[in-house]
């Protein structure tokens, strides 16, 4: 985009007049398949999309500004509300940044618990994606199977360790909030064992369904160059065939000890974005099994004072969240609260690629593409 042609006012971005050719459709903010309060201003010619403009900000809560008035442990609560489908990884990413600035050593048990809950969270998040994507394409049953059955199991597991089902505030600076309850690890192991079968079930129900493949194969293709130019990360980038994963490229926690593959696609169409996520669920299961084998009893929290001041300076912690590279950039002036915090939200950045990704496809494909990018509006608007 040329900087001189950037539109200034809302009227320029979203013309009120009907376009010369075709029709102007405002998809959202109250539309069943925009997954929250997103509005996409689309002009169509017949069934073909000629331009698309995402219009965001309906869910803006000024998280970054709020963080400047809170102490570091209090900010973890705010991060829960970003990507509310993957609150564990949000907590973790923020803690990574602060721990880096503090220079604390995390106990090994805490690291393993973090990986277990992080990967469980990834599975839960992809379950939501799978279910809602099924609804976008018109299949209703996968939603109630993935969202209502498997994700509930994971949420039950999370409820046992931290008491909350959506906003956990479980991963704390220096470790995790509490040790796992008795018998929890066995439950996780049972769940993992069952989950292998459930993923095969998804494959028969949706992944290799001819109609589903027809709707998603070769639709909304994205080249690696385009993905990198827009800053797309996560499964969306990997689907284009570009091998990039923070867990491998910049290992955090104990990921360097884990054995896992990075599933990549070939041409970055909707089906591959979907398939990469399904395969990632399998890799996550593998990692959870490894952690359960290696985890030992011990401390779960590093020794930290009640009130601490982070040394003056800046820190950046990032990790592979279910939706991509989630980063927290923190500037500290030595006071109990950060001077400035910035969140590199993968959903927000992936969403930007939509305006190029949608153009040229049919109206029905818009929904397929929008769903396959898998955004969470809580994170987009922050």
């Amino acid at each position: 985009m040329n900087s001189t042609t950037v539109p200034k006012t809302a009227a320029e971005v979203f013309p009120q007049k009907p376009p010369e050719k075709g029709m102007f459709i405002s998809l959202g903010p109250q539309h069943p398949s925009t997954h929250g309060v997103l509005r996409v201003a689309i002009t169509v010619d017949g069934e073909n999309v000629t331009s698309a403009q995402p219009d965001i900000g309906y869910l803006h809560r000024a998280t970054e500004k709020l963080a400047e008035k809170r102490t570091y442990p209090q900010i973890i609560v705010l991060t829960d509300r970003l990507d509310y489908l993957a609150a564990m990884t949000n907590n973790w990413s923020f803690c990574l940044a602060v721990e880096k600035m503090l220079g604390v050593q995390i106990p090994e048990r805490a690291e393993y618990i973090r990986i277990i809950v992080g990967e469980l969270q990834r599975i839960a998040s992809h379950c939501v994606f799978l279910g809602t994507y099924g609804i976008d394409i018109g299949a209703f049953t996968p939603f109630l199977v993935a969202f209502g059955r498997e994700r509930e199991r994971i949420l039950d597991l999370f409820e046992e360790i931290c008491g909350a089902r959506l906003t956990y505030n479980y991963i704390r600076i220096g470790g995790v909030m509490a040790d796992t309850p008795v018998g929890w690890e066995k439950k996780v192991r049972d769940f993992v064992k069952e989950m292998w079968g459930h993923i095969t079930e998804y494959d028969t129900l949706l992944t290799y369904n001819p109609i589903f493949m027809d709707r998603t194969k070769n639709i909304g293709t994205m080249t690696p160059e385009m993905a990198i130019a827009w800053g797309v990360t996560g499964p969306n980038l990997r689907a284009t065939g570009f091998r990039a994963d923070v867990r491998k490229d910049d290992p955090y926690g104990l990921y360097s000890k884990m054995k896992f593959d990075i599933p990549i696609g070939k041409q970055g169409d909707c089906w591959e974005r979907y398939w990469v996520r399904i395969s990632e669920m399998r890799e996550s299961l593998k990692m959870i099994e490894q952690c359960l084998d290696m985890i030992q009893p011990g401390e779960w929290m590093a020794k930290l004072p009640k009130v601490y001041r982070v040394p003056v300076g800046e820190g950046y912690g990032h990790l592979e969240a279910p939706r991509g590279d989630l980063g927290f950039y923190i500037v500290s002036d030595g006071s109990p609260s950060p001077y400035r915090m910035h969140i590199r939200a993968p959903s927000f950045i992936n969403l930007q690629a939509l305006q190029q990704l949608i153009v040229g496809w049919k109206v029905a494909d818009v929904i397929a593409i929008l769903g396959s990018v898998d955004i969470v509006l809580g994170e987009v608007d922050r």
Binding site: P32, I135, G148, R215
Partner: protein
């Protein structure tokens, strides 16, 4: 054991003779008995959708690892009734951009033809309300009027999504009407009649005393015709995987986005009544109507056989809906014009050859 048809006609006979013996003019008696018969059909058409809605909710629930409605009545059997009452008392909202008359007429036009369509269906021995000579053609043509209702709904709502839904509906329904009519042609050729009752009766008998002589068991032509008829019936009733006109994730709710309360209920009624009608047609055309199998004749009355088979096909409809994703518009059209149409033409040619062989 208990055939409903003779019993009913006997009942009407008794009632009519009772009335005439008490000084009611015979014309009036016939007229009144006709009105009562018509009302029985109307009652049936109104009750069947309620049953189907309940069946749909329960079947989908069991397919999705949940229970479905459980609170209103035992196993939630009165849930549909409660919903119906709720819909009746809802405020009738007409959007300000809508065309009032068109908005009002749309559900009426969509639902009215259904009642007429049930007339030539042979529900069992002696249970054909009106044995029309052009029964099959009559049902196929009159049910096409409902499409106009959908178009009116799309236009009258003053909403782009509704309009798109209406346009898509028009394209889809006109296209799938053709393979639907063509798939029935082999049946009509073979039995040489368009009356559903005659066709259903002609399918009695057994090959080798085991296989029923239903049309679906005729090699090749029977199966192809049945499959094409079933697929295009699913498309004609706007159900997943062909629910493009009301695709909820794309067009919000398509042509009935702006309809609430009783108007919405009427659209709903029409959809389910058509599902039942299509299943009943398939039963009469391909599954031998009220002809029983396995058990010796007469143990189970024909009307129960008919309903059993019909509900088996209704179950297929539900099964499709809760398993398949939605097709894309252009793929849908391709499927209709490039797959269903050629195969039904081939099937007609095959059936013609078979009819010739039989004549020799």
């Amino acid at each position: 054991m208990f055939e409903l048809g003779p019993a009913l006609s006997h009942l009407f006979q008794v009632m009519r003779s009772f009335a005439t013996s008490h000084g009611v003019s015979p014309v009036l008696a016939i007229l009144i008995s006709k009105i009562i018969q018509t009302n029985i059909i109307i009652l049936l058409v109104s009750l069947v959708p309620m049953l189907l809605v309940y069946a749909e909710r329960k079947v989908s629930a069991f397919m999705q690892a949940r229970l479905g409605p459980m609170n209103v009545g035992p196993w939630g059997i009165f849930q549909t009734l409660a919903d119906g009452i709720k819909l009746m008392f809802k405020e009738d909202v007409v959007p300000s951009g809508a065309d009032w008359w068109v908005h009002f007429m749309a559900p009426v036009v969509a639902v009215a033809p259904v009642f007429v369509c049930y007339a030539p269906v042979p529900f069992g021995q002696g249970l054909t309300p009106v044995d029309l000579n052009t029964g099959v053609l009559f049902i196929l043509s009159v049910s096409g009027i409902s499409t106009i209702g959908i178009l009116l709904g799309g236009w009258g709502s003053g909403n782009k999504y509704s309009m798109l839904g209406g346009l898509r509906a028009a394209a889809q329904l006109v296209s799938f009407e053709i393979p639907r009519v063509l798939s029935v042609v082999p049946v009509l050729m073979w039995y040489g009649s368009m009356s559903l009752r005659t066709i259903a009766l002609a399918q009695q008998g057994r090959w080798f005393n085991i296989i029923p002589k239903w049309f679906i068991f005729y090699p090749v032509i029977g199966q192809v015709a049945f499959i094409v008829f079933l697929i295009s019936s699913v498309a004609e009733t706007n159900r997943t995987p062909f629910d493009i006109p009301e695709a909820e994730s794309e067009l919000v709710a398509g042509f009935h986005t702006e309809f609430g309360g009783m108007k919405f209920a009427l659209f709903f009624l029409a959809e389910y009544a058509y599902v039942f009608l299509a299943s009943a047609m398939a039963t009469a055309l391909f599954l031998g109507g009220g002809d029983g199998f396995l058990l010796p004749n007469g143990i189970i009355p024909s009307w129960i056989w008919f309903l059993l088979k019909t509900f088996a096909i209704v179950f297929l409809f539900l099964w499709f809906r809760w398993t398949y994703p939605r097709l894309r518009v252009d793929r849908l059209m391709q499927f209709c014009w490039k797959f269903l149409m050629p195969w039904s033409f081939v099937n007609i040619a095959l059936a013609g050859a078979l009819v010739l062989v039989r004549m020799r």
